[in-house]
């Protein structure tokens, strides 16, 4: 027997959640963004598009547990994180959302993103970021929360400009 079907209500809730997370990141609303994560969160941005990548063997761009995720956010909140001071102007489009049931009553959502970033910390330059995110979501006190998020950039293994914002 295959996994249980995802209801329209769940699909709609996940979609809305992804939109909200994207907007909080775009608008540098750091504390609100951090509040979306569980205590056992893992935030992973591999440095390769290879699906076999193992963060215990291979270098990643980001492989944060909750403690490091909090450090990442605190840096941004100091006002001295010069690579994001002032924060880049950003808008991201989320599309091609696929939602499935996972173990432990969790949901897995895959989505494509296209993010335009205007970096305004030196010369004003636009960078484009494209990839696919995989969120694993869990209900905590009735609210969807991020247990893990993996972001695979199409150019993960290429030279990247600063990625000090929240992707």
């Amino acid at each position: 027997m295959g996994p249980a079907a995802v209801s329209e209500a769940e699909r709609s809730a996940v979609t809305e959640f992804l939109y909200i997370e994207a907007r909080l990141a775009d608008e540098a609303r750091y504390a609100e963004w951090l509040a979306l994560w569980t205590d056992d969160a893992v935030y992973w941005v591999p440095a390769t598009t290879d699906p076999e990548a193992d963060p215990e063997k291979h270098l990643s761009h980001i492989y944060d547990n909750r403690a490091r995720l909090e450090t990442r956010v605190k840096l941004l909140q100091t006002g001295h994180r010069y690579s994001q001071e002032p924060p880049s102007h950003m808008r991201r489009l989320i599309s091609n959302i696929e939602v499935a049931k996972a173990e432990e009553d969790e949901l897995v959502a895959g989505s494509n993103f296209l993010l335009a970033e205007l970096s305004i910390q030196a010369r004003h330059e636009t960078h484009w970021w494209v990839g696919r995110a995989t969120h694993r979501l869990r209900r905590v006190d009735g609210e969807l929360r991020i247990r893990s998020k993996k972001v695979v950039l199409i150019n993960a293994a290429e030279p990247l400009p600063n990625l000090a914002f929240l992707i």
Binding site: K57, L59, Q121, E125, A157
Partner: protein
């Protein structure tokens, strides 16, 4: 300030520094088995570093001997042969030309004269492979001089005396002149300013260099030939501060292995001092628990590559080394993005060319030459910058 902004000077640097001189290509541990390869650049020229079927390491220009097509577009991999996609010329792992389709078009054809072009000179030190595109000039040993000790300092932390670069590279794009990377990598003055966010957020081993000027004990050193070092270790008070502390049975086993090899005193010194923080001119940065490459792209663009060093015989540190590498270096790390945005602003400011010179006199009042002939000064002094530029001038004006 045309040294940072003039494309003609950039072209001259590629010729004099990156083609005539010794340039770091990669580490032998990146290509452990026959047919393993990585592609790199020497300056802006594409090269291919390959492990041959007999186990030797070769570096070839990554261009077909026929019409110049790039033979291998992959960053790394394993191959039995390299085939040019244009007309099907095929090469073996030793660069030998194996096959030319439709040989009837040549009256006589000497395949042995049409292999993948080898770099004129290739040499290595403790697994670090260097190449020169010029058949003549100082040997690698002469180029490195006493700075081999900096490489030793990192390698000897391995119980087997070898580091391994097997975690893959992160490449960080920098919209500034390439020289700003070695200048910043060897600058001990900027930490408390560029990295203020980090010091306000967490406790790091670098905190000892952001206090009162008189209490800072770390130093900078000029090893000659453009090789320059920041040595944090005079400020370290115990073992493994460079690793953010370490304890447990795995660490005890590691220390015991070093003691068996080197004796207690030398082992203690190694675990207190930690790996080197040094620039091997022009493009190899020994970034403590990382190795980094400075890749020039154009006069206003370069790439900073990095990978953690794994200590052969001490895999218990690998996970920590990976996480430290991600914390310190790369586009999403807690240090380098701030360095590179400042480099970008530096590059932008230098467009104001009416002001011709920058100021690099810091520490002239207190630097000294030690018993081994190395220039030494307070860690915030520009002794390293001057050493880099002194060597640069010599290389750029010599016949």
């Amino acid at each position: 300030m045309s040294l940072y902004t003039d494309p003609r000077i950039f072209a001259d640097e590629m010729e004099r520094i990156f083609h005539r001189g010794w340039v770091f290509v990669g580490h032998e541990s990146e290509i452990p088995g026959p047919g393993d390869f990585v592609t790199r650049t020497l300056g802006t020229q594409p090269v291919l570093m390959v492990r041959g079927s007999e186990g030797g390491v070769s570096v070839f220009l990554n261009r077909c001997a026929h019409r110049g097509t790039m033979v291998c577009p992959a960053a790394q991999g394993n191959a039995r042969t390299f085939a040019c996609p244009y007309h099907g010329w095929t090469y073996g792992l030793g660069g030998e030309l194996l096959g030319v389709p439709y040989p009837g078009g040549y009256a006589s054809f000497d395949k042995s004269a049409h292999g993948l072009p080898r770099v004129p000179r290739l040499s290595s030190y403790r697994g670090f492979v260097f190449a020169s595109l010029c058949p003549r000039g100082p040997s690698l040993g002469e180029h490195l001089g006493a700075a081999t000790r900096l490489i030793d300092r990192s390698c000897d932390l391995s119980p087997e005396g070898e580091i391994e670069l097997s975690a893959g590279w992160v490449k960080h794009q920098c919209a500034a002149n390439w020289k700003m990377l070695p200048e910043n990598d060897s600058d001990g003055y900027h930490l408390g300013f560029v990295h203020l966010a980090l010091f306000k957020t967490i406790r790091t081993q670098y905190r000892r260099v952001v206090g009162d000027e008189k209490t800072i004990r770390a130093v900078v050193r000029d090893w000659g030939h453009g090789h320059i070092e920041i040595d944090w270790s005079p400020g370290y008070e115990g073992p493994f501060e460079w690793l953010g502390g370490a304890s447990g049975s795995g660490v005890d086993d590691y220390v015991a292995a070093l003691e068996r090899r080197d004796g207690a005193e030398a082992a203690r010194r190694r675990i207190v001092e930690g790996p080197a923080h040094a620039l091997i001119f022009p493009n190899l940065f020994l970034g403590e628990t990382n190795v980094a490459i400075v890749q020039p792209v154009s006069v206003e663009e370069c790439v900073h590559w990095h990978t953690p060093i794994f200590l052969k015989g001490a895999p218990q540190f690998n996970s920590r080394l990976l996480r430290m590498s991600e914390a310190g270096m790369g586009p999403a790390s807690f240090l380098m993005p701030d360095d590179l945005i400042v480099a970008r602003r530096n590059q932008a400011g230098l467009q104001a060319s009416l002001a011709e010179w920058i100021e690099l006199s810091r520490g002239l009042n207190r630097e000294y030459v030690d018993a081994e002939g190395r220039g030494v000064s307070h860690v915030t002094d520009e002794t390293t910058n001057r050493a880099l530029w002194r060597h640069y001038r010599q290389v750029m004006v010599e016949a």
